[in-house]
């Protein structure tokens, strides 16, 4: 068992970095995820299916293509990347932030799907009832809609986190594989498999990946159950 816990500094870095990247990807995409899910679930406008298509694109495109598109647009010379770097000092290329962006984009369709389904399941008559009691649309959303879709939001967050932990293709294309900066667990495992004698390291990181995935799953179960207890639908 000794060899299992005896991680090299680089391996520890990969674990820490992966958790950081996945957490940021999940948290930063959440507001956008809720907004887009709301628009897709409730909106009536021309071009809704186009928006739906764009949101789902990362799910269907080869990850390498998504990564390359990110490189083109968010890279140092890309239109968005150069703008953000110049005016806000935010740089994505070859930084861990870029890895988080790639993971967030790849996980976005999964998050939106989960939240959208829960929004569509909300009984809109409850929202009308809240309106007659004096709540304006913003309050109705905060006090009725949001609590009712909480299980969907949690499910979306967990899916997004899990997807981000495993993201490989888009990340390595966009921000490469720099130990300590952009080398996440999957990239690290990939690197181990490419060098002689790297089997032990690859296995260690694989087992750690499994452990983190299991923990996330259990956490989501516990959360969902707690939410469900306070919110059994009539």
């Amino acid at each position: 068992m000794e060899w299992l816990l005896d991680l090299t500094p680089d391996e520890w870095n990969a674990v820490r970095l992966s958790i950081k990247v996945a957490t940021w990807a999940m948290v930063a995409s959440l507001p956008f995820g809720i907004l887009v899910a709301l628009i897709l679930a409730r909106g009536r406008f021309w071009g809704k299916s186009i928006l739906n298509g764009i949101v789902h694109l990362p799910l269907i495109l080869p990850p390498v293509v998504t990564g390359y598109l990110l490189l083109l647009s968010f890279g140092k010379r890309g239109p968005i990347g150069s703008f953000l770097a110049e005016y806000f000092g935010i740089v994505f290329s070859f930084r861990w932030t870029g890895a988080a962006l790639a993971c967030g984009v790849m996980a976005f369709p999964l998050m939106v799907r989960a939240i959208r389904l829960s929004i569509e399941a909300v009984d809109r008559r409850l929202e009308a009832a809240a309106g007659t009691l004096g709540a304006n649309p913003l309050w109705v959303f905060a006090t009725i809609t949001l609590p009712l879709i909480l299980p969907g939001i949690i499910a979306g967050m967990i899916l997004s986190f899990a997807k981000a932990m495993g993201e490989f293709g888009a990340t390595i294309t966009f921000v490469s594989n720099i130990p300590g900066e952009t080398q996440t667990l999957p990239s690290a495992i990939y690197t181990f498999t490419q060098v002689p004698g790297g089997d032990a390291g690859a296995l260690r990181l694989t087992l750690i990946s499994i452990a983190i995935a299991m923990l996330a799953l259990i956490a989501s179960e516990v959360l969902a159950r707690r939410v469900g207890r306070t919110m059994e639908i009539e």
Binding site: A128, A135, W139, M231, E232, E234
Partner: protein, 370 residues
């Protein structure tokens, strides 16, 4: 409080074209299903925007398409009790009740939480979740929730329709208390005569999206022709009688209105209180002389004030018994055989046992004889 509605609204192939004014304490919108009652309260409550027309409460304009005014539902101060209660499943009963108060500025709040809880008998439910309540309890909480938001008007859309008879009987007294003990006017949607006759002070009759009649409950209930076919059997006179005494030996109550005395099954109200009873037209017989040797206990002298017939089997005869108008359904044959005509002195005969829970209300609190 005056509610005035003059609205045209198209819903698919259905056209609602309704105009009425009411200042009753409890105005019933009455009509068969599909007559547009629910659409009408949804328009008043602001859940639907009218195509054309105007809605105002006491001069406060809620919607006026000519002036391009439309007050959204959260600004209307109209409580809405839905048929399906619509309690918020993620809140306790107490949180549901307090929900509307939060949005009401302090100076506009008049409803007292404790008083409402007491009025509706829901004190024991406050910490429960809505999914653990019975249908009747849910509906009482829904009424309380609307009340505590301190509305200027309460809309009730068939609040009893989804409940069984026992639950209806459980809730009706609370709605009566609401009507009699609070000052908030109520608009009550129903297709049930027994509910309307018991609860309403005024009735607006709807059919096919149009108002066919409106007026006081007494007036409308006598007009059997206004009632939908399937409910016509339930129609009749609505009287307010004063309890004189109880005859506990035989389980009867003795009631009076003017000169006429009534004997009805024992009621739960103390002597001296006013009760509302509905005398179904089908239960009233007519005799040209005072009958003897008859089991029926209520024999009232009166004069025929009106006879209406159509080509069918029946005639409707209105009998003025010292100010109370009774309505009787008899065959046209009997009208001919007995020589019934306007102005003729007759006796109206009603069996005491035709009165049951469905057509006798509990006391009219603070009610004064009209």
């Amino acid at each position: 409080m005056t509610l005035s509605v003059d609205i045209r609204h198209q819903l698919g192939a259905f056209e609602l074209d309704a105009a009425f004014e009411s200042n009753g304490r409890l105005t019933a919108l009455f009509g068969p299903s599909g007559s547009g009652k629910t659409s009408l309260v949804n328009l008043i409550g602001g859940l639907i925007r009218p195509d054309r027309g105007r809605i105002a409460v006491d001069g406060r304009v809620l919607a006026d398409t000519a002036a391009r005014t439309f007050l959204p539902k959260h600004k209307r101060r109209i409580g809405y009790v839905f048929q399906d209660a619509r309690l918020f499943p993620h809140m306790t009963v107490g949180q549901n009740l307090r929900y509307g108060r939060f949005f009401r500025p302090r100076q506009e709040r008049y409803a007292d939480l404790d008083a409402v809880v007491e009025l509706l008998g829901i004190g024991g439910l406050l910490d429960r979740r809505p999914n653990l309540l019975s249908g009747g309890e849910k509906q009482r909480v829904a009424i309380g929730r609307a009340l505590i938001a301190s509305p200027q008007l309460i809309l009730m859309d068939e609040p009893l329709a989804s409940l069984d008879e026992a639950r209806k009987a459980e809730i009706m007294p609370y709605i009566e208390r609401l009507r009699d003990e609070t000052k908030i006017p109520i608009v009550y949607v129903s297709h049930s005569i027994s509910e309307v006759a018991r609860l309403a002070s005024d009735i607006v009759v709807l059919a096919d999206g149009k108002v066919t009649a409106s007026g006081s409950t007494r007036e409308i209930m006598q007009r059997l022709d206004l009632l939908p076919e399937e409910e016509r059997a339930e129609g009749g006179a609505v009287l307010e009688l004063e309890i004189k005494a109880h005859d506990d030996a035989f389980g009867l109550s003795i009631l009076r209105s003017g000169e006429s005395e009534w004997r009805l099954p024992r009621m739960d109200a103390p002597a001296g209180s006013l009760v509302r009873v509905r005398v179904r037209a089908r239960d009233v017989m007519i005799a040209t002389e005072r009958p003897h040797g008859l089991s029926a206990m209520n024999i009232l002298a009166g004069k025929i004030s009106e006879i209406t017939t159509d080509d069918g089997t029946e005639a409707r005869v209105k009998i003025d018994c010292g100010g109370d108008i009774l309505v009787s359904r008899v065959t046209r044959h009997s009208v001919r055989a007995l020589g019934l005509e306007t102005g003729k002195s007759v006796f109206a005969v009603v069996k005491a046992v035709t009165f049951d829970k469905a057509n006798t209300a509990s006391r009219v609190e603070g009610g004064t004889k009209r």
